[in-house]
């Protein structure tokens, strides 16, 4: 296996502590391109991976009833200017387990590269998963990121996912997630993306509230400037009694950027309720003037508002 030094350096650059991510107590998987650099299981968490025919197949299993305190780290990256990384990821949280999964995606050098991940996530009865995916990109804008996920949230289970791409150029981002939520389960998806230059952003997230009392929230925050484009599609279907869903989209547009928000809410059960709100526009003038009244110049005030929204 290649050594971990490049990943450790990259983690340091983006402000992460390599020892926390890659240390002996941390369940993790590290892959550069299609090379597996490190893989470690810990009691209660099994991490398996293989690389063949240009695809990494990874599997994370959290054992039934285990409450995993230390985050499980998945580190994917390309440290060359050109390349492709294709990841097939299966995550299973067995009944009554809980864990936090951090996915660090580092493409700081990439000039013409693709990162494609297809994830299948199963959060079984009474289990809980926090999944945080953070991307760190370079300045070239030549990367294409294509995350796909299908998530099954079992009865009374909880799923909280945060996707963040606010450092470096986005390049091309095409997210497509579908989450099925069973009875009395909760799914909360948050995506935060900051595009500029000619970045192209497409985010499609769908939550199907299939079980009685299921809850779902899709929250999207996008800022776009220069000639970036963004299309945000938030879909929530309320299919059972007592299901409650909400789609909350906020986008800030500057310069010549073009963005759209398309909320789709559908209810197939008379006792389900789904709501949505979307706000698209330039920076709110009152927010801007409030910060300027504290002495911030307009550019700093706009930056603070956008950074706050994407925090």
């Amino acid at each position: 296996m290649p050594e971990l030094k490049p990943m450790a350096m990259a983690l340091r650059i983006v402000g992460e502590d390599p020892m926390a991510v890659l240390g002996p107590d941390s369940a993790h998987l590290v892959a550069y391109g299609h090379q597996l650099a490190s893989m470690q299981s810990v009691p209660g968490v099994t991490v398996l991976a293989t690389s063949a025919k240009g695809v990494i197949h990874a599997r994370v299993i959290v054992a039934a009833g285990r409450q995993i305190v230390q985050p499980v780290h998945l580190c994917f990256g390309l440290f060359e200017r050109f390349g492709t990384q294709v990841v097939e990821l299966d995550v299973t949280l067995e009944p009554g387990s809980s864990a936090t999964l951090w996915s660090h995606c580092l493409f700081t050098e990439a000039e013409e590269a693709t990162h494609a991940m297809t994830a299948r996530i199963a959060i079984q009865t009474d289990a809980s998963l926090i999944y945080q995916e953070v991307h760190y990109h370079g300045a070239s804008g030549g990367i294409e990121v294509v995350p796909r996920a299908t998530v099954k949230v079992g009865p009374r289970a909880r799923y909280k996912a945060d996707f963040s791409l606010v450092q470096g150029r986005v390049g091309t981002l095409d997210i497509d997630y579908t989450v099925d939520v069973a009875e009395h389960a909760v799914a909360e998806l948050t995506s935060k993306v900051y595009g500029f230059g000619t970045d192209a952003i497409r985010i499609r997230e769908q939550v199907n509230l299939n079980g009685e009392g299921a809850r779902g929230l899709i929250k999207t925050r996008v800022a776009a400037r220069e000639r970036a484009t963004a299309e945000v599609i938030g879909v929530t279907h309320g299919n059972a009694a007592g299901a409650r869903g909400h789609v909350d989209c906020m986008e800030i547009v500057r310069d010549h950027a073009v963005v759209s928000a398309i909320p789709e809410v559908k209810v197939t059960h008379p006792q389900a309720k789904v709501t949505h709100e979307a706000a698209i526009g330039s920076v709110d003038s009152k927010q801007l003037e409030t910060l300027m009244a504290r002495g911030l110049d307009p550019e700093s005030a706009v930056d603070l508002i956008i950074r706050g929204m994407l925090t």
């Binding site: 927010q287 504290r294 002495g295 110049d297 307009p298 706050g308 929204m309 925090t311």
Partner: protein, 265 residues
């Protein structure tokens, strides 16, 4: 430094005097508004307004709904769309009409908004630290009746109630240690119990030597000031000792200011 309340006609006469254009004493004047007019669309909101706020004083501006109080606050701060159509805004004798908000803030002017904006992802701690060195942010929260341990880590977003957000706005304005703090309706949206907090805050502001223009429709607050003025129909119609102005305001208040009631009272 207090002067008795002056009726409108007398105010206007005084306004015509070269060294008394403010309708109030100008000695040590920090802020002076001379002949200010403001149009918002077709409406003339302020008309020939004169006002002076002396260095170090707590000056209460009393006025009914619609009298132009908040518009005046926005005009002094330099908000978009609130440039005076006539007259000058003088800060330490310097005309700041063309100065953008952040430059006015750097001169030491700030505004605590009547309905403060909310911000996702900005903590109360960070908000209180905006601008110049703000000292201990917890201290500023305590001054407005909020427990630092409960609030410093929270975001200044919609999870705060209106009253909490309002108190944080006041704390933020004071944390800047501005030379002139404009407090726009500080008691609006805050429960009665918290009126005491505001009065305590006024005391703390006074002790810190800051100058305050406190805008309100509640004459009780005027009694804690050094001087007061009454705004009606876009003009200052009375100015002087707080008790006198408050009494004048009570006697001649219009419920919805149309600019006529006081002149005919």
């Amino acid at each position: 430094m207090n002067s008795p309340a002056q009726p409108a006609a007398e105010q206007e006469k005084r306004a015509s005097d070269a060294d008394a254009t403010s309708g109030a004493p100008t000695a040590g004047g920090l802020l002076e508004l001379r002949g200010i007019g403001l149009r918002l669309g077709a409406k003339e909101v302020l008309c020939g307004l004169n006002l002076a706020v002396a260095q170090g004083e707590i000056h209460v501006l009393l006025g009914a709904n619609g009298s132009g109080k908040s518009s005046l606050a926005h005009l002094i701060m330099g908000c978009d769309g609130y440039a005076p159509s006539t007259g000058d805004i003088l800060f330490e004798g310097r005309c700041i009409n063309a100065m953008p908000i952040h430059e006015r803030a750097r001169l030491g002017i700030t505004l605590a908004w009547q309905e403060p904006a909310r911000f996702e992802g900005i903590s109360v701690r960070a908000y209180l630290a905006l601008g110049a060195g703000a000292g201990d942010p917890g201290h500023h929260l305590e001054a407005v009746g909020l427990a630092p341990s409960e609030y410093l880590h929270r975001a200044v977003d919609k999870t705060l109630s209106g009253g909490e957000r309002k108190r944080i706005e006041l704390a933020s304005a004071i944390a800047l240690r501005p030379r002139l703090a404009i407090l726009d309706e500080p008691s609006a949206g805050i429960d009665l119990l918290s009126m005491d907090d505001i009065v305590r805050l006024i005391g703390a502001i006074r002790a810190a030597g800051m100058t305050v223009l406190l805008i309100t429709h509640q004459e009780e607050l005027a009694l804690h000031a050094d001087r007061a003025s009454q705004l009606c129909g876009g003009r200052i119609v009375a100015s002087g000792a707080p008790a006198d102005v408050a009494e004048n305001y009570r006697a001649r208040r219009c419920r919805r200011c149309d600019g006529e009631t006081c002149e005919h009272a």
